[in-house]
């Protein structure tokens, strides 16, 4: 026992120096790969022209304020769409898992909804809603392209999100339901207090994945006319005969999507760790 602290100290040092070595190796490997990639691009025969058309600092500076304004529209479309998607998706999922016979028609409608809107490319849904709805000619219906575009995105994404919620709900073990029913909770109380809280916790990472997709797909609304970041960049690009503004728009999307991606990965790792220690029963 008396000699133990010494041995422990030696081990700790060994572990520390191994960690240092691992980090150094990782950094060196990364550096070499990045350098090789940069060299490959720079030495490519077309590099001078690529550099001119993709990395024009002046063009970017002139276009950027308007692209940023466009991006603000993207963000607002995302913020308006996402909460409705969550509510609608959860509602559809709940309808699909209830067994009440009265709800059969609603359940059939929910299944048809998810099948159709998951099966059709988002861009076609946007076309359909954006051009189809105004063509109906109802005076009380909006003609605002942003609202129509967001409606189309809501339809498309609610179908995906409903399936995510449903997967979470059916992943809660039947014994949890039995435990709740045995206590006298009604079917509704069981769902509300026992099943849903566990289901939602499990689907946060896949939901965030859909958030990330939506934050990019709002750009599709531009096919109806609204000038958001991508469209604005494209306008400047063709004006200057230069792609740099598009690169600027891409950078803006990344500013939002990368943090979201990191949060998603972090949550996913944490859940995996929890499950492997037997936490999430």
């Amino acid at each position: 026992m008396g000699a133990a602290p010494d041995r422990q100290e030696v081990r700790r040092q060994a572990r520390r120096s191994r960690a240092r070595r691992d980090r150094a190796t990782a950094s060196a490997a990364t550096l070499i790969v990045v350098a090789a990639l940069v060299l490959a691009v720079v030495l490519a025969p077309g590099w001078p022209s690529v550099r001119q058309s993709f990395l024009s600092w002046d063009d970017l500076r002139r276009a950027f304020p308007d692209i940023l304004t466009g991006f603000w529209l993207d963000v607002r479309m995302f913020l308006a769409t996402e909460p409705i998607v969550l509510v609608l998706g959860l509602t559809i999922a709940l309808v699909r898992v209830t067994r009440a016979p009265v709800l059969f028609p609603v359940r059939a409608a929910a299944i048809a909804f998810t099948d159709v809107f998951r099966g059709v490319p988002t861009i076609l849904v946007i076309f359909g809603v954006g051009f189809g709805v105004p063509a109906l000619g109802f005076s009380w219906l909006t003609n605002d392209e942003v609202i129509l575009g967001c409606t189309a995105l809501t339809l498309s994404y609610s179908a995906y999100v409903a399936e995510v919620f449903r997967a979470g709900i059916v992943s809660v073990h039947p014994s949890q339901r039995a435990g709740a029913r045995a206590l006298g909770l009604t079917a509704g109380q069981t769902t509300r207090f026992v099943v849903l809280p566990q289901a939602i916790r499990r689907v946060v990472p896949p939901l965030l994945n859909d958030f990330i997709s939506l934050q990019k797909d709002v750009a599709l609304v531009s096919i109806l006319g609204p000038v958001e970041a991508y469209r604005q960049a494209q306008i400047y690009g063709s004006e200057y005969f230069n792609y740099t503004p598009l690169l600027g728009a891409a950078a803006l999307y990344l500013c939002v999507t990368i943090p979201l991606t990191r949060i998603t990965d972090r949550l996913q790792d944490r859940q995996l760790a929890r499950r492997s220690t037997g936490g999430a029963a």
């Binding site: 014994s175 029913r181 045995a182 006298g184 037997g278």
Partner: protein, 246 residues
């Protein structure tokens, strides 16, 4: 006196598999009836049918003289009067110990939160779990989790407690603490139906032991009679197999 639980000629089949083949059973107030029998003999199904978690095909189930197996009966209201504890605890992992216990009293029975919590703390303290109120189930040992599950069932003051092999999922050294708790409940006069493979415990706690074989109670009686001097060949063979495993 009317039995608390009465099962009359109950049958139940899963497809072509006749799981309960005409069960008759009566559990008087303050009595503990123990169900023994090989795995697959129908013990869990019988308990689940009494708690209306499964529907019987034929026969009747009565609670305090009232037929509860009638399809017109409100099953939620019936289950509020019965407590059931499962082999795998079925605690809610997203709720802490106190909330697990107070969920049904507050949401189903309309007990004010403060009163429900006071009662829960009292039960936890009595059964050696004081100070665990804010822990989550996965932080507790199996024996502690099962004790919480039993307390959760007790917190609604059920007329009868159904215990389905509540020690079968536990490490051997944790079995005792759970059986001790059930012994105390017996001392309180709790009416219980208990499925178990723990024969020494059955002998100690049971007023009556029923031996199930292929969905039928083929022999029942006082512990000493049934365990020491079984009449049926199947009972004898079952008891021999159990004893040779020890």
């Amino acid at each position: 006196m009317t039995p608390v639980v009465q099962v009359v000629a109950a049958t139940k089949a899963f497809g072509a598999n006749a799981v309960l083949a005409g069960i008759d059973l009566a559990v008087a107030e303050h009595e503990a009836v123990v169900l023994i029998g090989a795995s697959g003999s129908g013990k869990s199904t019988l308990l689940r049918c009494i708690d209306l978690l499964e529907e019987i095909d034929d026969g009747d189930i009565l609670l305090d003289g009232e037929v509860i197996s009638d399809p017109a009966v409100n099953v939620d209201a019936v289950r509020r009067r019965i407590g059931m504890v499962f082999q795998q605890f079925n605690l809610f992992p997203h709720l802490d110990v106190l909330t697990n216990i107070t969920l049904a009293p507050t949401r189903v029975h309309g007990t004010p939160r403060a009163a429900a919590e006071a009662r829960a703390r009292e039960l936890l303290a009595r059964f050696g779990l004081a100070g665990r109120e804010r822990e989550y189930p996965d932080r507790l040992s199996g024996g502690q989790q099962q004790r919480v599950a039993i307390i959760r069932a007790l917190a609604t003051d059920p007329r009868v407690l159904l215990l389905d092999e509540v020690t079968s999922a536990l490490d051997p050294e944790l079995v005792g603490e759970v059986l001790d708790l059930i012994g105390e409940l017996k001392g309180d006069g709790m009416t219980m139906v208990i499925a178990t493979h723990e024969m020494a415990f059955a002998r100690e706690v049971a007023d009556e032991i029923c031996f199930l074989h292929q969905g039928a109670i083929i022999e029942s009686g006082q512990p000493s009679t049934l365990l020491d001097d079984p009449k049926a060949e199947e009972t004898r063979r079952f008891l021999q197999r159990i004893h040779s495993k020890r």
